[in-house]
Amino acid sequence: MAKQSGSNFQYGQLYRSEDKVYPREVSGRFARLRRLAMFVLLGAFYIGPWLVWDGRQAILFDLPARKFYILGMTLWPQDFVYLALLLIILAVSLFFFTALAGRLWCGFACPQTVWTEAFTWIEMAVEGNRSQRMKLDVAPWTVDKIRKKALKQFLWIALALFTGFSFVGYFSAVRPLAINLVNFEANAWAVFWVLFYGFATYGNAGYMREQVCKYMCPYARFQGAMFDHDTLIISYDAERGEPRGSRRRGSDAKAQGLGDCIDCTMCVQVCPTGIDIREGLQYECIACAACIDACDTIMDKVGSPRGLIRYSTEHALEHKSYRLWRPRTLVYSAILVLLLTAMVTSMALRKPAILDVIRDRNALYRDVGRQGIENSFTVRVINKQNNAHPFTLSVSGIEGLKINTDTDFVVEGESVMTLPVSLTAPHESAVGGNVINFELRSTDGSNIYVTEESRFRGPAENR
């Protein structure tokens, strides 16, 4: 164990494998912002499943029924493209904001950060501040220690399980799920996923914490590619701070040739990933801004202006001008605008019904004598709207083609109707493969019209 206490703290030893990070709690502007983000984001997550829209759960990814309800919208598996588009938009937004302001996501919005914040908050509330926690950890197992540790574990596990439950609540109607869980009647898979997600939360937020960011997060490794000299990053103003060194209160630092950094190492002590920001930007930095808060507090105490560590850009530190619109941000925002437009347009033009036509695989065609050649199809009509509609089906593409089965039917709201359809065409027009068109029209004036192409097959040549 390296002996390190406040005064003879040694740099470079921080990275020894047996060293630990025991972040000191910090207060200040960014700590308050982070706590606010925690309450808003966790609040939204926990309240989310309980919201109601039009008498049903507002956000529900109903997996067994294969329907996604998002507010007033119902998405079908066929609408997967929107989900993919949405994920791409989110990814590009992440790139855009990273280019602008660094790892905002990591510091304030990432679930890993947010739940870690919640778990450390519980830990602090139960076990006290950093030095009290450290003392408690080495203390013998007294009744008080057992009580504190048990209370912390209880609260952690309760929060983790509630998190798991809320997560599952997005996939399985939350009200019945809650009732069933309380009565021990819940579906085995639901219980499994509650425990699975709960355990992951407990492990990630309670124990692994920023190690997830340091070792496991793929974004941490490639976010550097989105940075440029105008990206806002947390930086130490070396010009102002160096040469660093401790000084007597009231002594003239300038006369001693010292900069503003008093080398109190608070910025290192509060860092959850255990880096020294004074060595410059490092990939471990998750931009939580704890060092800014810590340094500002110290600067206030010693009577120097705040901002020795602050959000700044490389160009600003080099006294160069800052450009908001540069090729990188222009390209990211152009892609973003393009994708958003595509998404909104395609959502607006989304067909309220889907027509699927599947050819009968058993027989290519059947000769039915004088009536001509028969082809069989399975037609699937999906009514994506909430209310029922009457439809009529027609086909075109070959001379004399006609439908032998029912062409008028009603499809209930949000349901799928599968119907066998038999078509016949006279011998002279049913030669080889011909493209035909199925057309579905609503007959109640709701203007639903969809078409689907298929093929009508006959013998290679007319007898």
């Binding site: 164990m1 002996k3 390190q4 206490s5 406040g6 703290f9 990275y15 020894r16 494998s17 047996e18 060293d19 630990k20 990070v21 025991y22 972040p23 000191r24 997996l63 067994p64 294969r66 598996p77 997967f80 989900l83 993919a84 994920l87 450290m134 950890d137 080495v138 579906n187 898979w189 639901a190 499994f192 692994m208 914490r209 920023e210 190690q211 997830v212 070792y215 496991m216 997060c217 793929p218 190492t265 002590q269 959850p272 255990g274």
Partner: protein, 98 residues
């Protein structure tokens, strides 16, 4: 100030890092591909193919699909990590450089 015997966040060994990265990345990929897979395939298809009595529900289909993809990604990643040759640093490498 850092003088507790119990490390809160110790550095991870290379092997721990490998396992953690492998598990997490394959999880993310599996989650993404589960969405893609079940956008096109009904989970009941998987359940029917396996044909085990107590697994007869679409929820089982999703779970099996997800864990299958996760295990798959894990296996692929693990083999890749095993097979990628690391640069040699031994005395032989130094001699060869000369």
């Amino acid at each position: 100030m850092q003088d507790s015997d119990k490390p809160a966040l110790p550095e991870w060994s290379r092997d721990t890092q490998k396992i953690a990265v492998l598990t997490w990345i394959s999880f993310l990929i599996a989650a993404a591909f589960t969405m893609l897979l079940f956008a096109f395939i009904d989970p009941l298809v998987i359940v029917d193919a396996i044909n085990v009595k107590w697994l007869e529900s679409s929820n089982s289909g999703y779970a099996i699909g997800f864990f299958f993809l996760w295990a798959n990604g894990w296996a692929a990643g693990w083999l890749t990590l095993r097979l990628v040759r690391r640069k040699r640093h031994g005395p032989a490498a130094k001699i060869r450089k000369r």
